[in-house]
Amino acid sequence: MTLLLMALMVTGLQAQSKSDLPNITLKDLNGKDVNISKLSNNGKPIVLTFWATWCGPCIKEHNALNDVYQDWQDETGVKIYAVSIDDSRSTAKVKPMVEGKGWDFDILLDVNSDLKRAMNVSNPPHTFLFDGNGKLVYQHTGYIEGGEDDLYEEIQKVAKKK
């Protein structure tokens, strides 16, 4: 009996978490609300990358990602959301910078740092990779030249699993 109960409890405890995407609503560049927990990419991987207009390494990382984004999408279907943590001093500069630099990512504005706090980001750039079910599989802080190759290896692993 006890064993049975223990077994029941263990199965209960082993239940996997569903999604690691927090229930936080941000705005996109058109002012539209986007709830992070509802982000989906038809079972394909999702990348969230935290950046700011004043963060040099972030811009380097984004330029590098943008160069390969189309290829990555064709091969794995990955979708990249670039979450700007710019506050009111620079939110107005986000859209012109994104367009001016020709980035193709979906941009989200975390003006009040709600998502930054919820995901425990201390310093940008900080990149998170989620599988098709919203489960966090990889995260990385900082950007070193060539860092996008390692991110892509992780993306490929996740994309293959499906």
Binding site: G12, S17, T53, D87, G102, N120, S122, T141
Partner: protein
């Protein structure tokens, strides 16, 4: 019988625990982060550090844990300053639970109790936030309710007292005769595109918002008659059509005599507007701002960066390289007229100037001047900015000749080939150091600054990066006459050169050496080298950084809020991780 009941009880408990645990565990997540910054100080006669004032080690650390389960979330943050690193407020010294909260949000209603970070509009009347690198935290301890009755409409209410380092959240608690007030606020935001179905996919965008904030603080002055309730209100509008967007916010505050505004009984105003245009490969934004007597604190005797209820964003360009960021503007809440223009353009790939990868150009210009103040009647005489009076009168659109700051810069960012990347920037700077940093009598910094940042990819794993920077002052350089008594004001003045070489091995290692040299200081004994060596190790979300060498006197600014960092010599270590 008893045994059966026990067994049944155990079964029910287990089943319900299992069910409960299942839903509890299926959706529950625990995450968090840690960071420790430590600095070991050493004597260094070369840069005039002959006394450590009894402080050999400074340690700032925090650990935070978040728990979420569906619509529920809770979290806490411990902080330790043992003691605080040089350049941070001494009131931080201590250890404790600095922040905690519990929150429930089902989309229709959201409630939070504990320490709240939020902002209304762009923050002109209310913003609480935390900035670790400044040792700043003005969280509101209290309650917040958010209502979203229909799509596109958000109503918010906040109530509480702000954090003041480790002081308990009582009315009379500051350790001296100071009181800290209660802050209350409401805000409404209406997004027409989300609430009106025919506008859902329209090219035309519009949203409106309004907020009202008041602070209640006891009058402790025996000299002035201080208003115990000070309220402020703001209205905002965002419009967009296709590639053009416009947004504006205006804020008003009733008279609020304080130590910052020299106890004048004048009302406050702030206006901030921006107009932008963007299309693929081109973006431009023009911003203007007017601030007039808008410092708003929950303790009117406060003089430093604490207990601010509102946030007045600086709109100038944020430099991140070493020499360009040496003279960073900080907001002047008593009055400023500011304008900023930023243009980003990418010369397309495949053109003569664009080359194989395209060339990214950016231009920025920003300028800040004072507002114009005219004297007002006081009794039978006229007075200007005199304590206890209405202070001054100021024409809304008048711009004073007194310029605080100007920055004109141009940047080129170019991937030259598969292996080479270049970023270069030229900056022309005007910086009224007397107003911004309070160095009375110091001549204005007028400087030309340039840098280039070249990266070479050795192979798939390794890269080299070289930074060369120079700062050349137009007037204050070698040969400039400095009186013996004023020497101290010239500690970082004159010409500078900077070089950095970094070798990185992706994904874990980075090694760099740098030298910052004040070779053109007018005072010979300040012509010092600030040599540093740094090793960084990154593994996933963990970063360890160890550096040794000298740090020059400077200002660290985030969001227009600055703290001064004294010159130091020694070893510093940063460890951070998140999970």
């Amino acid at each position: 019988m008893r045994k059966h009941i026990l067994l049944l009880f155990a079964l029910v408990l287990t089943v319900s625990f299992k069910a409960g645990a299942q839903s509890l565990l299926e959706n529950s997540q625990v995450s968090g982060s840690f960071q420790t910054d430590a600095q070991y100080y050493m004597l260094d006669k070369g840069i005039n550090i002959t006394d450590l004032m009894g402080k050999k080690l400074g340690v700032n650390g925090f650990g935070k844990v978040n728990y979420t389960n569906g619509n529920f979330s809770a979290g806490m943050r411990f902080e330790a300053f043992l003691p605080e690193m040089n350049g941070f407020r001494s009131e931080l010294n201590g250890v404790g639970l600095a922040n905690f909260f519990a929150s429930y949000d089902n989309g229709f209603i959201g409630m939070t109790v504990g320490d709240i970070y939020d902002q209304f509009g762009s923050g002109l009347v209310f913003r609480t936030y935390e900035e670790w690198s400044l040792g700043m935290d003005n969280a509101l301890r209290g309650a917040r309710v958010v209502l979203r009755p229909t799509q596109g409409l958000t109503l918010k209410g906040v109530y509480g007292r702000q954090r003041f380092f480790w002081a308990p959240y009582l009315e009379r608690d500051m350790g001296n005769d100071d009181y800290r007030g209660i802050v209350r606020g409401v805000d409404a935001e209406w997004d027409l595109n989300q609430s009106i179905s025919s506008l859902n996919n329209s090219e035309f965008k519009m949203s409106l918002g309004g907020s009202f904030v008041s602070k209640k603080q006891a009058d402790q002055s025996s000299f002035y008659n201080i208003p115990e309730n000070v309220s402020a209100a703001a209205a905002r509008l965002n419009l967009g059509y296709g590639r053009v967007s416009f947004s504006t916010e205006y804020a008003y505050k009733i008279n609020d005599p304080s130590a910052i505004n020299n106890f004048i009984y004048k009302e406050g105003h702030a206006l901030m507007s921006s107009l932008s245009y963007s299309q693929k490969g081109f973006g431009a934004v023009l911003q203007v701002k007017r601030v007039d007597n808008m410092s708003f604190k929950s303790m009117y005797t406060g003089k430093q960066n604490d207990l601010d209820i509102n946030f007045i964003p600086p709109i100038n360009y944020t430099h991140t390289h070493s020499l360009p960021s040496m003279y960073t503007y900080s907001t002047q809440p008593n009055g400023e007229m500011a304008a900023q223009l930023q243009v980003n353009y990418t010369i397309p790939k495949g053109t003569a100037l664009g080359g194989k990868y395209g060339t990214k150009l950016a231009f920025n210009m920003s300028q800040v001047n004072d507002i114009v103040r005219d004297s007002v009647k006081f009794g039978n005489a006229m007075a200007l900015s005199q304590a206890g009076t209405l202070g001054y009168a100021s024409k809304f659109f008048a711009v004073s000749d007194h310029r605080f700051f100007r920055d004109i810069n141009f940047e080129v960012d170019k991937k030259i080939s598969k292996d080479w990347h270049l970023t270069a920037q030229y900056i022309n700077l005007y910086y009224d150091i007397e107003t911004i940093e309070g160095h009375a009598g110091s001549p204005v910094v007028k400087a030309n600054i340039g840098f280039m940042d070249v990266t070479y990819k050795i192979n798939k794993r390794q890269s080299l990066r070289l930074e060369l920077q120079g700062l050349w002052e137009n007037e204050v350089h070698k040969g400039y006459e400095v009186e013996e008594s004023e020497k101290k004001d010239y500690q970082k003045r004159g010409d500078w050169a900077f070089a950095l070489l970094e070798y990185s091995i992706n994904p874990h290692w980075s090694f760099s050496i740098a030298d910052k040299w004040n070779y053109g200081n007018p005072v010979e004994e300040y012509r010092d080298h600030y040599f540093t060596g740094t090793v960084t190790y990154i593994h996933d979300a963990t970063r360890v950084m160890l550096s040794a060498g000298r740090q020059s006197e400077g200002v660290v600014c985030v969001g227009g809020v600055c703290r001064t960092v004294p010159a130091s010599s020694g070893v510093s270590l940063t460890v951070s991780t998140s999970f």
